[in-house]
């Protein structure tokens, strides 16, 4: 056995931060009615949005913290800044992007990844989308891809018709918080019959200590359209807790195909409490591909409401919990229509005292005949101090549904290790290889560059786990 070496992922190289002075509209800490009104005023929003924000704020105050899931009592809502805007004016081309922001992106290695295969780019820095370019042909096809604030201004009709219809502020406390102070996020509208061949992508970053980020994403895929949206996150380390509380809404109209891929790699002090939900109408397909690697606590359950006949939902979720981390993730599928099908696959790895939880719901409503669903969740425990829990809720109200659920928890097999090592791999390499193989169903769904990034990250995380 190799000597035990403890090498944790080196976050210090990401530990860069810019001076705070350049922020315009720096807000005081804490959330009040005035803060909400001021956000709305700065953004020059219509009255209905201001009222919506205030209504959400009222609900946020009323709603108690969830009693289940992770440890939320250490969240100090009064210690956070709820709005920050680095530049007032939106940048249209790369040249206009402020140099210090470019510098940060450079350190993250983002531009290379973007330039290679991205069509439209909406990269989020702080709470405003600062860099935005849309490939010509996309615009020609009538695809709208902008930040959500712009969408509210420029496409008010389509925006108002769909906004908050999937996740109303009353849904949960954090959806209410997001609805009250949301800023930024992506807005995508794909017209009928249009197929977007390249994945659309946005990078998010948190940059101020104690600053929450509340982006709001709305994707509307009209009839028979196709869209793949990718979202990835990295964040520098800060000593006090940050909060990321996004809301993502997807509407897949009849025959549409939407895939939403996330790799979340917040630093280990971020609370990541996200509400993601999709409505899938007849014959449409919605796929959530969700990777949770960083953060202190993640509570995220992408959900799909299958509202039309033959709609299809797929959730693929991967969680990796290291020291001090709790990944409370899973997926929810609600079958509301006949002949709908769904599949949930969850893979989780806990190491160095980390905790992963799978929390899932599978609901088959009355009258939803011919439903088929498979849920599979596997957990891997790397050592004896880590923990994994599985709480799958299966609610079946139809008499001809076919539902299966399976879960396994295990450790890395000695014989697998031995086999690889007998072929000349070191224990370290063998371990990484097994873990990567365990994650394979997830990584193979990712675009190449993400998959490489993820595999590299796993190798880094696995370093020092021998012993």
């Amino acid at each position: 056995m190799a000597t035990k070496q403890v090498v944790d992922i080196d976050y210090t190289k990401y530990n860069f931060r810019d001076s705070d002075e350049s922020y315009e509209y720096k807000f005081p800490k804490g959330l009040t009615r005035e803060v909400v009104e001021r956000i709305s005023k700065i953004k020059k929003e219509p009255d209905w949005m201001r009222e919506f924000r205030l209504r959400s704020y009222d609900h946020f105050l009323k709603r108690p913290l969830p009693m289940w899931g992770g440890e939320l009592t250490r969240l100090k809502f009064d210690d956070m800044v709820y709005y920050a805007s680095p530049t007032e004016k939106k940048s249209r081309s790369w040249e206009d992007v402020p140099p210090y922001i470019k510098d940060t992106f450079d350190k993250l290695g983002i531009p290379e990844a973007e330039r290679k295969f991205l069509g439209g780019v909406g990269a989020q820095y702080e709470s405003e989308v600062v860099y935005h370019s849309l490939r010509e042909d996309l615009a020609k096809k009538g695809v709208l891809f902008t930040d959500t604030d712009t969408a509210l201004r420029e496409y008010p009709e389509i925006f108002k018709k769909h906004f908050a219809t999937v996740v109303p502020p009353e849904d949960n406390k954090f959806a209410a918080l997001n609805s009250a102070v949301w800023s930024g996020g992506s807005f995508i509208y794909v017209p009928e019959g249009v197929s977007v061949d390249v994945p659309l992508q946005a990078y998010f970053r948190i940059n101020t200590a104690n600053m929450g980020q509340f982006e709001r994403t709305l994707i509307i895929a009209d009839k028979n359209s196709r869209i793949h949206y990718i979202e990835g996150c990295t964040a520098p380390i800060y000593s006090t807790e940050s909060l990321h509380s996004a809301v993502v809404e997807i509407i897949a109209k009849p025959g549409a195909h939407v895939r939403y891929t996330t790799i979340q790699n917040w630093s280990n002090d971020v609370y990541n409490l996200v509400t993601k939900r999709a409505y899938a109408y007849a014959d449409s397909t919605v796929e959530w591909v969700d990777g949770n690697l960083g953060s202190k606590l993640t509570m995220k359950y992408p959900s799909i409401y299958l509202l039309g006949p033959r709609a299809k939902g797929e959730i693929l979720s991967v969680a990796f919990a290291g020291k001090g981390q709790h990944q409370d993730a899973g997926g929810k599928v609600v079958h509301m229509a006949p002949y709908t099908t769904s599949r949930i696959t969850s893979k989780s790895i806990s190491k160095a005292g980390g905790r992963t939880t799978y929390r899932g719901l599978l609901h088959v409503a009355k009258g939803a005949t011919g439903v088929k669903s498979t849920v599979r969740c596997d957990a891997l425990l790397m050592d004896e101090i880590s923990r994994t829990d599985t709480y799958p809720y299966n609610e079946i109200n139809a008499d001809d549904a076919t539902i299966t659920h399976e879960a396994t928890v295990g450790k890395i097999g000695e014989d697998q290790l031995f086999y690889l090592m007998s072929r000349g791999l070191s224990e370290q390499e063998a371990l990484s290889m097994i873990v990567m193989g365990f994650m394979e169903p997830f990584t193979k769904e990712l675009p190449m560059e993400y998959a490489i990034e993820l595999n590299r990250l796993i190798q880094m995380e696995m370093a020092g786990s021998v012993g």
């Binding site: 009693m67 289940w68 009355k366 849920v375 957990a379 425990l381 790397m382 050592d383 004896e384 101090i385 880590s386 923990r387 994994t388 829990d389 599985t390 709480y391 799958p392 809720y393 299966n394 609610e395 079946i396 109200n397 139809a398 008499d399 001809d400 549904a401 076919t402 539902i403 299966t404 659920h405 399976e406 879960a407 396994t408 928890v409 295990g410 450790k411």
Partner: protein, 472 residues
């Protein structure tokens, strides 16, 4: 004492009740504490399941805790029908308990098999510690606490070191009442390396037609010392007016083995809590549970397995069939604690929904705190397999009989584990009758000869878990 309604239960009335029964002070205190907790505790303690806690229609207010005396002639008639030489039986007819005369051989070895009231009177000191260290404490569950406050019957079984008894112990309860409740508490202690079987049967002779709700509250604890092996089989076919609250728990020491197999068939609202705790290394437990719901029955079942010791093995399987408007909720949790290295666990919840308005929910949970383990769980909801029906029909069996056979077969993993062939046959018969829609106690006593052709005796040791592909 003539009447004590649950709602009228107060510290004073519990004291009077306990004094009238000439109980020791510690028991009186235990009852008072239990009552207090019953009133304070929420219906569901775990925030994982609060969403599902629903007692609508379960009316506890009108329940009188004192049961009417049964008629002696009736007792004789039913006893004659249920008596078998293959088991030692304690009968419970409403408030009346009839204990068997133990064979000399068992008495000589120190086996105790009696009703719990007598047992407490005979040996109050032992029971004082027993109640202090109970496996199911009043704090654990609202209805467990209610049972602690009001229990008046139940059995006590003690099997000393090294004694292996092949003849099963049997506890038959007949409950026919309207607006009354029966509160029964069982204490079973298996000393080192003892081995025995206990069969619990709950019947009503009139299964339908009552107008007022009754209540059955049963609490059973099995304490297994080193190397002890206990099989606890239970069948519940109470009348459709009875709300059932059942708490069962075992605590196993080193190398002990418990097998719970439980068939839940009768009742209106059925709340069942089954827990196996393995404290000692090398312990094994199996929770096997079947539910057959019809009409407007509502089942709320929990099957938990807790691994505390090393090298422990736990299996839990719950299977349910729901037809008509019946609803079944299966909750289960495998907990593997920090020190339970090399544990193996398997939890399965399988449902069959046979009606447009029937409903089944399954929540098979896992909480794993160490890595040297193998834990799997699975859940499924499906219908009667058409291919299986076709196969049977192709062999000349009419469709309805074919389906019935498939349903009876669905329950077979539990039924075949019941060590008394007569009782196993009776369960198959009850399932058969329930499928046909006949609710008749006496009909369940007559077993048509043809049934025996279907079931081959003597192959009941087939392992339902080892065949699972995950244990290749």
């Amino acid at each position: 004492m003539s009447e004590l309604m649950i709602t009228q239960a107060t510290d004073e009335s519990i004291e009077t009740f306990s004094k009238a029964r000439q109980e020791p002070t510690w028991l009186q205190e235990f009852r008072a504490k239990s009552l207090k907790l019953f009133l304070e505790l929420p219906v569901e303690l775990s925030n994982l399941y609060t969403k599902y806690a629903d007692l609508t229609g379960v009316n506890l207010e009108s329940i009188n805790t004192v049961l009417p005396e049964p008629k002696p002639l009736e007792i004789e008639a039913i006893r004659n029908k249920l008596e078998t030489k293959a088991a030692l039986t304690i009968y419970q007819f409403g408030p009346k308990t009839i204990c068997p005369v133990l064979p000399e051989a068992l008495k000589k070895e120190g086996v105790i098999f009696t009703d719990i009231e007598t047992a407490i009177h005979n040996d109050p000191e032992i029971f004082r510690t027993y109640f202090l260290e109970k496996a199911i404490q009043p704090e654990d569950d609202k209805f467990g606490a209610l049972n602690g406050a009001l229990f008046t019957s139940g059995i006590y079984l003690y099997v000393p070191k090294g004694i292996e008894i092949i003849v099963p112990f049997r506890h038959v309860t007949m409950l026919d009442a309207e607006g009354c409740g029966l509160f029964s508490q069982n204490a079973i202690i298996a000393d080192n390396r003892s081995k025995f079987t206990i069969v619990e049967e709950l019947y009503s002779k009139q299964l339908t037609g009552q107008t007022k709700k009754s209540m059955y509250s049963g609490l059973s604890e099995v304490h297994l010392r080193e190397g002890a092996e206990v099989t606890y089989a239970s069948i519940n076919n109470l009348a459709s007016n009875v709300n059932i609250f059942s708490n069962k728990k075992s605590v196993g020491a080193k190398d002990s083995k418990i097998v719970w197999s439980s068939a839940l068939l009768g009742g209106a609202y059925i709340r069942s809590r089954l827990e196996s705790v393995m404290e000692g290394s090398g312990a094994t437990s199996e929770n096997i549970e079947v539910v057959f719901g019809a009409g407007t029955q509502r089942f709320d079942t929990v099957s938990n397995i807790t691994h505390i010791g090393e090298n422990t093995t736990g299996h839990a399987i719950s299977k349910g069939v729901v037809k008509d408007q019946a609803r079944a909720l299966f909750k289960g949790m495998i907990r593997i604690e920090k020190n339970a290295k090399n544990s193996r666990a398997y939890l399965a919840e399988h449902g069959m929904i046979l009606g447009k308005e029937a409903l089944a929910d399954a929540i098979p949970g896992l909480e794993i705190e160490t890595n040297e383990v193998k834990a799997t769980h699975s859940a499924s909801v499906a219908q009667i397999n058409e291919e299986e029906t076709f196969y049977l029909m192709a062999r000349g069996i009419p469709e309805n009989d074919a389906k019935k056979l498939i349903i009876v077969g669905f329950f077979e993993p539990v039924v075949e584990r019941i060590p008394v062939p007569e009782i196993a046959r009776r369960i198959r018969r009850i399932i058969d009758l329930k499928w046909t829609g006949i609710y008749d106690f006496y009909a369940s006593l007559t077993i048509p000869a043809i049934d025996d052709e279907y079931y081959e005796e003597g192959q009941k040791t087939r392992d339902i878990f080892e065949g699972h592909y995950k244990y290749r």
